[in-house]
């Protein structure tokens, strides 16, 4: 997994609340058996018209946001389906960090498995960052994971909270399965105990 340390890039504003994973990647693109290549379909139904042409008003189609690496979004981003195709599509598009007041639980967890950093901040902070994102490609935002700070193009800084373990894995690009495999003895002994305590399971 790609490491996440510090990122400076264009942030795209998506103030809509409740952006769900069906919006991020509609069901017709879930029929893949691969993780890659979904970026072109990210936000498909908002991004393209019925004939497959780009909708010029959609934020990621605007020239200044085509290379956005950060999304500043409305509350409850990533709600709905558990599909990991949503973070796959965002990462494949080039998004590395998403800022909102809140994220849906499963989407939030899925981000960390794919080198994406979801940042939850209070409404006042997101309002300031949304305004900064609206300035376009000349305004570059900085996300510093090590110091847990987001900085606007004007230098206004906001600290954010993140679980220490998730931060560590993201910064080191660690594979969860490999880490858990190191605890195989604990799993073995849990299974042995559980077989005694709850043999019907």
């Amino acid at each position: 997994m790609e490491k996440f340390e510090k990122l400076t890039g264009v942030a795209a504003p998506m103030p809509l609340v409740n952006i769900d994973t069906d919006m991020i990647i509609p069901k017709q693109f879930l029929k893949t058996i691969k993780r890659t290549g979904l970026g072109v379909h990210a936000f498909d139904e908002m991004r393209y018209d019925d004939d497959g042409n780009e909708v010029p008003d959609f934020v990621l189609n605007k020239p200044q946001y085509r290379d956005a690496q950060i999304l500043v979004a409305g509350a409850n981003f990533g709600c709905g389906s558990s599909r990991e195709h949503a973070p796959w599509a965002l990462a494949d598009f080039g998004i590395r960090a998403i800022i909102s007041t809140s994220f849906a639980d499963i989407f939030y967890n899925n981000c960390f498995k794919n080198g994406l950093l979801p940042i939850a901040l209070p409404q006042e902070a997101v309002d300031v960052l949304m305004k900064d994102a609206e300035k376009g490609s000349n305004a570059r935002m900085t996300v510093d994971l090590e110091n847990q700070v987001v900085t606007t193009s004007d230098g206004e800084a906001f600290s954010f909270e993140i679980d220490a373990f998730k931060k560590h894995c993201l910064m080191e690009g660690l594979d969860d399965i490999g880490l858990t495999m190191e605890k195989v003895t604990a799993i073995d002994s849990f299974e042995a105990d559980a077989a005694q305590a709850r043999p019907w399971v």
């Binding site: 509609p26 558990s82 990991e84 973070p87 495999m181």
Partner: protein, 474 residues
Amino acid sequence: MSGKTLYDKIWDAHVVHADDDGTSLLYIDRHLVHEVTSPQAFEGLRLANRQVRAPQRTIAVPDHNVPTTLGRENPDQMPEDSRIQVEALDKNARDFGVNYYPVSDIRQGIVHIVGPENGWTLPGMTVVCGDSHTATHGAFGALAHGIGTSEVEHVLATQTLIQSKSKNMKVEITGSLAPGVTAKDVVLTIIGHTGTAGGTGYVIEYCGDAIRELSMEGRMTICNMAIEGGARAGLIAPDEKTFDYVKGRTHAPKGAQWEAALAWWKTLHSDEDAYWDKVVTIRGEDIAPTVTWGTSPEDALPITAKVPAAEDFSGGKVEAAKRALTYMDLTPGTPLDEIEIDTVFIGSCTNGRIEDLRAAAEVLKGRKVKDGIRAMIVPGSGLVRAQAEEEGLADIFTEAGFEWRLAGCSMCLAMNPDQLAPGERCAATSNRNFEGRQGRGGRTHLMSPAMAAAAAVTGRLTDVRELMTENEPA
């Protein structure tokens, strides 16, 4: 020190290892797998030369993509990409030796209906699946939630999941429900009340007399939509109804093991002095038959209400409501029961069980689907389908003018050919009314099976209580 919640108890019984910061490795008792979110996980195992650690705890079934029309055994019925996904699951299930119900098996169906039906889901278990509606299994007092594909791979390889604990939320429905009001109305009302992010960061336990009165199937409907309220999982403490439902099912414990299991299951309830981080209380008597008007499950209102205006909301919801009204092509102030529909879909992991079909049949008996309305019923599993045929429900549906389909997820998420056309308006018993959910440009109104059946008869969103009155003898 305060007592424990049901969630605390199940959590504690499954911790393999806990770090100082609370990050825990949780053991997983049942892993359900379907064809859409698993191919990349199995591929990951192959690339790393890993095995499935506990194939006997892993249950796979194709459901999202499969056609629901007769003759579907013929692979030509499936589009190429769907066929590849289903065939990949066939192969993965065989290669890794997990329990499997292929399309040809009568027990095939929607994964969240198959699990409980065959006794895989038991109280006190941890249950996961690469599907957000895994919350369904919480109706048994099992800690059940959706996971992403990377986590599917993690569970396949290690039978554990890295988790941090959620907070405890209690949703209490007091009293009893009025006639015509079902579990679906209860859960839509809850989400309307708390919002789709109201449960974020929490595991919800549903309790109160109105919940106790519900059947196991009704309880599954409630827990199924815990995720639509943002919660990681929904739980209902097991009781005699739970034990009666589980007893005798294929994979339920038998004999002395049944007795041992029962003794533990009876301890699975929140202690009187348990601490709740958040409590929501709703009077059962205040809940009416409910429908959604917008594009989020929180856009739920009693059928007797009117389409709201964007200005009725505040904050970011104003823009979202404007967008929803445009997408749904609705005018504020329109009575909800004047909204005309084109299509009716009865089915899904929310409402595709036998009691749901009975409720629909009760409304449809001796009635006809209104001319011009496309109506389909998709049972949740092959076993539900067989039982509905045995009970004569299927005849009621076909005589009324409904299509009677084979089991699958179908038009709930429209990954198979069952889709809405742009602009088509649907009365649906499924769980999500998101933009494009049932087909690009399709418009979804969520409701109970009885309400959907009533809409099929009248051609508009309808208060099912009107048809119930007609049923009463003069």
